[in-house]
């Protein structure tokens, strides 16, 4: 019989964390924002899902983020920690102050735009793929 982690009481001493769980398919990430025990694996039992984050921009060049602020507030009040990416998302949404990592990343991007990776073609061998995975 499978028991959902959210059905079990959570009064253990293991810390809880709100972090991104990668779902989706190969080369197409989609993250669930979940509350989990730190010890559990990324694909292991989840206490509650409090949102989602679509990392691929849609045809309007938007990245969609759903956040259940009411439940996030509750879990923060119960002592849950935030992972860095989730803290960055909450900063971007205005729920928390801007995360220093976002500011540093923005500064780096402005100083030097992110490099595009390219392979040089080798004579006599098949030409490189359009989007090589290095």
């Amino acid at each position: 019989m499978i028991i959902m982690a959210s059905a079990l009481p959570t009064f253990t001493k293991i810390a809880k964390v709100i972090r991104l769980n990668r779902h989706g398919c190969t080369n197409r990430p989609f993250y669930h924002i979940v509350v989990q025990k730190t010890k559990d694996n990324q694909d292991g039992p989840v206490i509650e899902q409090v949102g989602s984050f679509d990392a691929m921009p849609n045809n309007k060049n938007e990245k969609l983020v759903a956040l259940n602020f009411e439940r996030i507030q509750y879990w923060l009040s119960q002592g849950a920690k935030l992972s860095d990416p989730v803290a960055q998302l909450l900063g971007l949404s205005g729920f928390l102050p801007n995360h220093p990592r976002t500011i540093i990343q923005a500064w780096k991007n402005r100083r030097e735009p992110p490099r595009e990776r390219k392979i040089e073609a080798i004579k006599g061998i098949a030409p490189p793929l359009d989007n090589p995975k290095l």
Binding site: E62, K63, L64, L67, G94, N98, I103, A106, N109
Partner: protein, 344 residues
């Protein structure tokens, strides 16, 4: 031109297939009445008038109560069930009729006439230090339970660091993605674009267009107002008022025509179909909307006469129709009185 309607199977809204031989005709039914001397729009805020109790009562009376039409089995992609027959006492029948009244009121609930909504301009924060953190915008929606969709927080962080409230289009799209309503698509269906909309109206699919617009848009959406006004004007030009009678759209259509001052076609329709009460109600509504007072005449015939002599725009046609009606009435009353004499 003969056209084939598009078949699609979303939720409730399934189009009827049009047979090849049926050609949509753009007829001008009554030559006396088709002059385009009307203004098509109005700058007045219709919600001031729409929500008044006396206006609502009049619109309700004008809509009519054809139970057969309201409760008919519409082919909307849902499973149809055969009718159930039950043996009931008079008291039980009365009880069922009371329940049916409640259901009827719900089906005939009129979608409101509102003015176009103002675009959203609220900026929550300007963070110049975040410029360049990503080259696409982030759209955040609050998925807490129990919040009305119109009050739900939807914010956008632009690549230039500005955090703002989402525009109405972004907001509706996000709410539909995470809290979908049946019959509504995420982006506007192609049917509501000008050319396709004109095709639908040429085929006479007025109720379908209005029902789908009701499901797809909010009542203060500029697209909803455009589609509904176009449909109402089309019905008015082609004198197809009976298609919307006893539906939820008749009331808003009548109020729209009164506000545009082009209710004369409708009055003509009522007079020629001998619905004196409806014609009188229409004239009362006109006075309520334009002078905010009920007229003093209690006699319905006098009321209509005064309107035709006074504020009517299409006087010749209306006078002709009214005189014809009065003569027919007189003959009918004479025949009745003769019948009474004969029986006595």
């Amino acid at each position: 031109m003969a056209t084939r309607a598009v078949m699609f199977t979303i939720g409730k809204f399934r189009c009827f297939p049009i047979l090849k031989n049926r050609i949509a005709k753009f007829t001008s039914s009554s030559n006396l009445l088709n002059t385009s001397t009307f203004d098509t729009g109005y700058t007045r805020d219709p919600s001031e008038v729409f929500f008044k109790e006396n206006v609502q009562a009049l619109l309700d009376r004008l809509t009519g109560r054809d139970y057969e039409k309201v409760f008919q089995n519409r082919k909307l992609g849902q499973r149809l069930e055969p009718p159930k027959y039950e043996l009931l006492t008079q008291a039980e029948v009365d009880q069922v009729m009371v329940e049916m009244e409640v259901k009827l009121k719900k089906k005939l609930q009129m979608p409101p006439l509102l003015k176009e909504r103002e675009p959203v301009t609220k900026i929550l924060s300007k963070d110049a230090e975040l410029q360049g953190f990503d080259n696409c915008k982030y759209v955040f929606i609050d998925i807490s339970q129990g919040i009305n969709d119109r009050k739900r927080e939807v914010v956008v962080r632009d690549p230039n660091g500005v955090l703002r409230d989402a525009s109405w289009e972004e907001r509706q799209k996000m709410c539909q993605i995470y809290f979908p309503l049946p019959g509504r698509q995420i982006s506007m269906p192609k049917m509501f674009e000008e050319t396709h909309l004109q095709d639908c109206l040429d085929q006479g699919q007025y109720q379908f267009v209005l029902d789908r617009a009701c499901a797809q848009f909010e009542p203060d959406d500029p697209d909803y107002i455009r589609v509904t006004r176009k449909t109402y004007n089309c019905i008015d030009e082609n004198n197809k008022f009976s298609t919307l009678r006893s539906t939820r759209h008749f009331g808003p259509m009548v109020l729209h025509l009164v506000l545009c001052k082009r209710m004369d076609n409708l009055l003509f329709h009522f007079i020629t179909s001998k619905e004196v009460k409806a014609a009188a109600d229409l004239v009362r509504l006109f006075h309520l909307v334009w002078s905010d007072s009920s007229p003093s005449e209690l006699d319905e015939f006098q009321l209509i006469e005064n309107y035709i002599q006074g504020p009517a725009v299409k006087k010749p046609a209306l006078e002709l129709a009214w005189q014809t009606f009065l003569e027919i009435e007189k003959q009918r009353l004479e025949a009745l009185s003769q019948q009474n004499k004969a029986s006595n």
